[in-house]
Amino acid sequence: MFRDDVVAAVVFLIFVVVVGSEALTYNLGQSIRVVGPGFFPVVLLAILALLAIVLLITSIKDWSKQRRAAWPARFQPLALVTGAVVAYALVLPWLGFLITTFLFSTVLFRFGYPRKWLLPLAGAAVTSLAAMLVFEVWLHTQFPPGFLGF
């Protein structure tokens, strides 16, 4: 058990409150026989709240025995990867598959080989061309063409 479990339990409880306030706006049903769309989520949220409270109590009780999760000193990989994925989704409709994939791969390859430029650029060129051949040409996946038309 982690000390962070206390935080996790609290986050789960906040989640229950936020989602629960939405779930309670749905019809719970006329009776137990004909239950509405809100019934199942509300029951689940109640169970989740109960489990989160148990986690909270047990983790506070065993506080001294617990350790912290091994969080990294820097969140660079997390920021880079999620950032790159979100950026990919943002520019894909504008730049098209080939250019977006090339830029995306260059950034990520460069992260792995920080002191070089040639390797990431060459790797990205090969990767994006191969991806286009496999997915667009062979498997007929339809990607947005972008303003340049490819």
């Binding site: 058990m1 982690f2 962070d4 996790a8 789960f12 989602v19 939405e22 779930a23 749905y26 019809n27 009776s31 137990i32 026989r33 004909v34 239950v35 509405g36 769309p37 809100g38 199942f40 989520p41 689940l44 949220l45 169970i47 989740l48 489990l51 989160a52 148990v54 986690l55 047990t58 999760a69 091994a70 969080w71 990294p72 990989p77 997390l78 990867v81 999620t82 790159a84 994925v85 979100v86 990919y88 989704a89 894909l92 994939t101 995306f104 791969s105 990520l108 390859f109 992260f111 792995g112 080989y113 790797g123 990205a124 990767t127 991806a131 997915f135 498997l139 996946t141 339809q142 990607f143």
Partner: protein
């Protein structure tokens, strides 16, 4: 006789040129991706799933099954050569397989693992052909209460067999069920938890979730330990892949016992392959005349668990194809794939799509045979794949995830969803919340809600119906017993001791 007839029907499907080709391609790609560091079978299938979208359903599922077996073989290869299990079920293969490799017997370890899996596959195919129709027929008698209770049992079974805390697994199950309620309600059509995004009307996409939870979060965890990831890849030339007569004499018993044990363990919900391989290792250690050699390179310790592992991964198809209930995350993915191809797994599948049902079953045998032909000559290639540095690898994996998430609906919203679930998966895994129960619950959620509401409607809103109908009661009581077993402190100790060895090496 009927069994043979069914198997022949299946063979006529799976042996068609196109299906053999895609099964071969699946096995090849599965092994290729499966040997890459940090990619287990679930992530491998998730990555390669988009390649099957344009194929006919039978061919697609056969290819996915091929990918699955390939990835499992890949896991064994990394266990033996690098001491890194591709997934939990091959953890035990590391114990003796890696020791054999260190003593210069990597070839024999890889060879017996391939032959053992092939023999286990042969036995499991006949087991499947015998058992599956009976289970499907039995399942036809299930009403809504039975289905609801069976899903409960399946989900509790997952918490019982998962390695982490039961409380956290239960929380993951509830979260997964909640995620499954996003989108239109099946009965009233009302959109739930849409929060202004029209893309959420059809619910959260299965593919982006699985790509995020298993693909992206895995990359994040691996990148964190990039500096420490320098691995000691077996560098000597591998020779002598054919086990000697003495090897065979020592291995045949463990292979046969492992096959039977693994098959039955595979049918159980939740990590059946893990239980099969661990069970087989424990059994062989007990019955072997060479028990002192275990842990130091005993061939029985590779042959038994590898056979059990393979038989279990085939046994796991029984609950999937006959009940529509996946027993692990790979099977959950296959449910997703079947639904993408317009097929609903369950007891009716065998009658509605017999070509698919029997085709998939016989393709397992084909897959095993192909892997035997493929794996042994290509060992050199797999070893080279193992040496690909992670900084080169992860952009490619991420790109596959992106394309996979996008190409299901051709919508960038799914890419955002994948990013969110990637970050969520990373945080959850850091806090020791396992994503597997969440995925299983997400897949089973709609069935569970539907059957719950149906049962209440049909039986006049009487909630006791789940306990008064005998079969449903059996399922629920078993689920409660499994829960109680984990809560009672003495038994919890036994469970943690039993699973202690399964921590990744």
């Amino acid at each position: 006789m009927e069994v043979l007839q069914n198997l022949l029907t299946g063979l006529s499907v799976s042996l068609s040129l196109i299906n053999v080709w895609y099964c071969f391609l699946g096995c090849l790609l599965g092994t290729l991706i499966g040997v890459l560091p940090g990619l287990g079978p679930t992530a491998t299938i998730a990555l390669l799933l988009p390649m099957t979208f344009s194929l006919p359903p039978v061919t697609a599922i056969i290819m996915l099954a091929g990918i699955y077996y390939g990835a499992m073989y890949g896991g064994s290869t990394t266990s033996i050569l690098v001491n890194i299990p591709g997934e939990a079920a091959s953890v035990v293969t590391c114990l003796d397989g890696y020791q054999m490799a260190r003593r210069g017997r990597a070839g024999a370890a890889l060879g017996i693992s391939a032959f053992g899996s092939f023999i286990a596959g042969t036995i499991a195919v006949f087991g499947l052909a015998l058992v599956a129709p009976a289970v499907a027929e039995f399942a036809l008698k299930f009403g809504a209460p039975e289905y609801f209770s069976l899903v409960c049992l399946g989900l509790v079974g997952v918490t019982f067999l998962s390695q982490g805390s039961m409380l956290k697994s239960l929380m993951m199950i509830v979260l997964g069920l909640l995620f499954s309620t996003v989108g239109r309600d099946i009965i009233t059509g009302e959109a739930r938890f849409r929060y202004g995004f029209f893309e959420l009307e059809d619910g959260l996409g299965f593919i982006p979730i699985i790509m995020g939870l298993f693909g992206v979060s895995e990359i994040l965890l691996n990148l964190e330990s990039l500096a420490a990831a320098k691995r000691d890849v077996y560098s000597q030339k591998i020779k002598g892949l054919l086990p000697t007569l003495a090897d065979w004499r020592r291995s045949i018993g463990p292979i046969l016992r492992g096959s039977v044990l693994g098959f039955f363990m595979g049918v159980l919900p939740g990590g059946g392959a893990v239980l099969g391989s661990f069970g087989s290792y424990a059994l062989e250690k007990k019955v072997s005349r060479h028990s002192k050699e275990f842990g130091k390179g005993a061939i029985e310790g590779v042959a038994g668990p590898e056979a059990a592992n393979n038989a279990a991964s085939q046994g796991a198809f029984i609950p999937l194809l006959t009940l529509g209930i996946p027993s692990n995350s790979v099977m959950a993915l296959l449910v997703g794939a079947l639904i993408v191809h317009g097929l609903q797994p369950g007891p009716l599948l065998m009658n509605q799509a017999p070509d698919l049902f029997w085709g998939v079953i016989t393709s397992m045998y084909l897959g095993n045979a192909l892997l035997l032909v493929l794996n042994l000559p290509l060992i050199g290639l797999w070893v080279r794949m193992l040496k690909v540095p992670y900084p080169t690898l992860f952009p490619l994996i991420l790109m596959f995830c992106l394309i996979g998430a996008y190409s299901l609906n051709y919508n960038v919203f799914d890419i955002y969803l994948m990013a969110v679930f990637g970050a969520l998966g990373y945080v959850l895994r850091k806090l020791e919340f396992e994503p597997t129960p969440l995925i299983l619950a997400f897949v089973l959620g709609p069935l569970m809600e539907d059957k719950l509401r149906q049962a209440l409607l049909i039986y006049g809103g009487d909630p006791t119906v789940f306990f008064t109908r005998p079969l449903s009661a059996v399922f629920l009581v078993t689920a409660l017993v499994l829960l109680a077993l984990q809560v009672l402190p003495n038994l919890r100790k036994v469970k943690s001791k039993a699973l202690q060895d399964s921590e990744p090496l």
